[in-house]
């Protein structure tokens, strides 16, 4: 009972705060988002809790970018980050956004790392007319939900279906696959989204889908289905699941004598994958990812060395890179807006075009999703090796 009461009180407080913020924000948000020579940027990230490693990685990347940007400043002004920890919880992400918009009066918010926590800020940002950039939220719902554009919301990462499109182009142009099989996790929207995009693009490229199979997360025996897939004789298998099952499937596939290339999305990106599948079985498999620290591109190598210099030789991961890019994405817009007014920043963000960043050169589409390249990584003896970059 006590708990329920507390939760109720908390809820009503949050609601009240939301309404207050809504009232205050609508008219008088301009001048206050920075005084004289600083521009306040809110950071609403998962600094603790379940997915703290994502949030912390983004914060590291963002801090490095801010440091670099502040050397010259934007029209003489410096960026000041105001950090809020959303504890990996949606309700905390909402109250963090309320605090940043109403109390700190920031010019823009960076965050959150996950799609759920990013969506939790949408309404507050829309009501207060403060742009939010989600560095790594890949769900299409963040920027475009219920057939409506959330016009103050942006993202730095690509969206889920995009990985499927890229994988299809890779299968056609690099693997020269004429036929493909799709094997999805039927309990995951992520997996289904990637598979649908893959199928559409692969067929558009003239390929043929010869088999479609599904499993349920936590299954352990895939041999029967794999035997069935083998007899369909595909040139390529698209497996857009998470690393636990993907690892088992690849291992069992190789044992069944299914030696064709497999490909997955960023859901495969975990050291556990190699432990489960074994380094040998993973040869001839590929994943799409946001970026690779092994990419020879000069911009990326500069970032990798700057990052290593600041963070004791740590090799930057995809989240570090996305955090870093978010800093430059925002700085570029503020520069073009010529002001720290949130609405002007939002308009400038929308016009972002051919901006050269670490995770790709990007232009924003009408749904506020960046159109940029994805990186293809290949597993060689258990190591992720940069293979190529595919443009949309």
């Amino acid at each position: 009972m006590k708990k329920k009461k507390l939760a109720g009180a908390f809820l009503s407080l949050t609601l009240a705060a939301g309404m207050l913020a809504g009232c205050g924000g609508s008219g008088s948000s301009d001048k206050s988002s920075g005084d004289g020579d600083t521009i306040k940027i809110g950071v609403n990230l998962e600094l603790s809790g379940g997915v703290a490693s994502y949030g912390q990685s983004i914060a590291e990347g963002l801090e490095l970018a801010t440091e670099e940007i502040n050397k010259e400043g934007i029209d003489g002004k410096k960026i000041k980050l105001i950090k809020v920890d959303n504890k990996s919880e949606a309700s905390e992400a909402t109250s963090g956004a309320i605090k940043l918009t109403s109390q700190d009066k920031v010019a823009a918010i960076v965050g959150a790392a996950t799609s759920t926590n990013s969506i939790a800020q949408v309404q507050i940002a829309q009501d207060n007319k403060v742009p939010v950039i989600s560095p790594s939220g890949t769900s299409p719902e963040i920027t475009f939900s219920k057939d409506k554009l959330n016009d103050y919301i942006f993202r730095t990462s690509f969206i889920d279906p995009f990985q499927g499109t890229v994988a299809a182009n890779f299968a056609t142009s690099e693997i020269k696959a004429k036929s493909a099989a799709i094997y999805i996790d039927s309990a995951s929207d992520y997996s289904k989204g990637l598979a649908a995009a893959f199928k559409e693009q692969f067929e558009k490229n003239g390929g043929k889908i010869v088999a479609e199979e599904a499993y349920i997360a936590k299954d352990t025996d895939f041999r029967s289905t794999l035997t069935r897939l083998k007899s369909a004789k595909p040139d390529f298998i698209f497996l857009p699941g998470y690393y636990e099952e993907a690892g088992l499937i690849v291992k069992q596939a190789r044992e069944t004598g299914l030696d064709v290339p497999f490909m997955g999305g960023d859901g495969w990106d975990s050291p556990k994958l190699v432990e489960i599948a074994g380094a040998k079985a993973l040869n001839n498999t590929f994943i799409t990812n946001h970026y690779s620290s092994g990419d020879p591109d000069e911009k990326i190598q500069n970032f990798v060395s700057a990052f290593k210099a600041k963070y004791k030789d740590k090799s930057p991961d995809a989240f570090n890179a996305l955090g870093y890019d978010t800093g430059y994405f925002l700085a570029d817009a503020i520069k073009r807006a010529g002001s720290a007014d949130p609405t002007k920043i939002k308009e400038a963000l929308e016009k972002t075009k051919n901006l050269q960043l670490v995770t790709g050169t990007f232009t924003l589409d009408e749904k506020h999703n960046p159109i940029k390249s994805a990186t293809i990584l290949e597993f060689k003896e258990g190591k992720q090796v940069f293979n190529t970059k595919i443009n949309p």
Binding site: S186, E213, A214, Y215, I216, T220, D221, R223, S224, T225, T227, R228, K230, S231, E244, G247, L248, K251, E255, T256, G257, K272, E275, I276, G278
Partner: protein, 292 residues
């Protein structure tokens, strides 16, 4: 060729079900209790095997023996603490206790070590692949099937040729009469739990080697399926559990082979329902000679 390949897949999976089903069936035969914690003994065996291989750096056979011994002890412990005080209680009380014990083991285990999965090393057994007439057979699946068969033969010898086996058959036939004949019923029941749990432990290690990924809740579904296998063969009957396990594995493989892989788990339980409606005594039910 594809059909033969699918049968091989089914037999490998089925031999694991059969090993677990044996424990269900033996315990049921002797105390008329569905030991729902049996699937969790299987999980504990898998983890004991994992730590023996990775931490103690042992090879397959010693790890298997350690896992079997630890599980035998564990099974006896469960029986003595949870089931023995309820031996004369209603059957529903014992059944609910079994479910409670199962949940206690699962979540107690998660509390102690966390829920994250573990991966068996890939090189415990050689993984050569043979191609025989277009059918690819993995050396691991042959070894696994072999281990299962050897264990089942040993079990048959224990049940039919040893004194404790004779006692087990006697207690299963009529516990009160056995007691009057001077058989120590408590020890016989404990021995049954020990043997059944040791087999589950062996199944756990084999499962880990064959499927690599193990986690604290891994025993739930194989446990339930093994229960289906035991009922399919006729619960309480040892050869029934073996055949039921292999049959269930093959049925599952064929369901996936027909392209209905998402229905695989559902089919296993449809089998249970059909058996209970049409053949409640199971495939081997009429032949009541070999109850243990």
């Amino acid at each position: 060729m594809e059909l033969i390949q699918q049968l091989i897949n089914g037999v490998s999976l089925g031999s694991i079900y059969a090993l677990i089903a044996l424990g269900y069936t033996m315990v049921y035969g002797i105390v008329k209790l569905i030991n729902f914690a049996h699937g969790d003994v299987f999980m504990v065996g898998s983890f004991v095997g994992f730590y023996s291989i990775t931490v103690l750096d042992l090879s397959f056979v010693p790890a298997l023996l350690i896992a079997m011994s630890v599980c035998a002890l564990f099974g006896v412990l469960i029986e003595r603490i949870a089931y023995k005080p309820l031996r004369n209680a209603t059957r529903i009380a014992a059944l609910i206790t079994a479910i409670g014990v199962s949940l206690l083991i699962e979540y107690g285990f998660i509390y102690v070590r966390g829920a994250q999965p573990e991966a068996y090393p890939n090189d415990v057994l050689p993984t050569d692949k043979f191609d025989i007439f277009g059918v690819s057979v993995n050396s691991q699946s042959i070894l696994i099937f072999g281990v299962a068969v050897v264990l089942m033969i040993i079990l048959q010898i224990i049940v039919h040729k040893t004194k404790i086996g004779k006692a087990m058959r006697a207690v299963s036939f009529d516990a009160d009469a056995a007691k009057l004949m001077g058989i120590n019923v408590n020890n016989t029941i404990s021995a049954t739990f020990a043997i059944g749990s040791a087999l589950a432990g062996a199944a756990g290690v084999i499962f880990g080697i064959y499927y690599i990924k193990i986690e604290p809740l891994m025993g739930v579904l194989p446990g339930l399926k093994a229960f289906v296998a035991a009922v399919l063969g006729g619960i309480g009957i040892i050869p029934g559990a073996m055949v039921g396990g292999l049959l269930l594995g093959v049925i599952e493989a064929l369901v996936s082979a027909a392209g209905y892989s998402l229905w695989r788990d559902a089919v296993a339980f449809v089998v249970l329902i059909l058996i209970l409606i049409f053949m409640p005594q199971g495939l081997f039910g009429k032949n009541k000679k070999e109850k243990v």
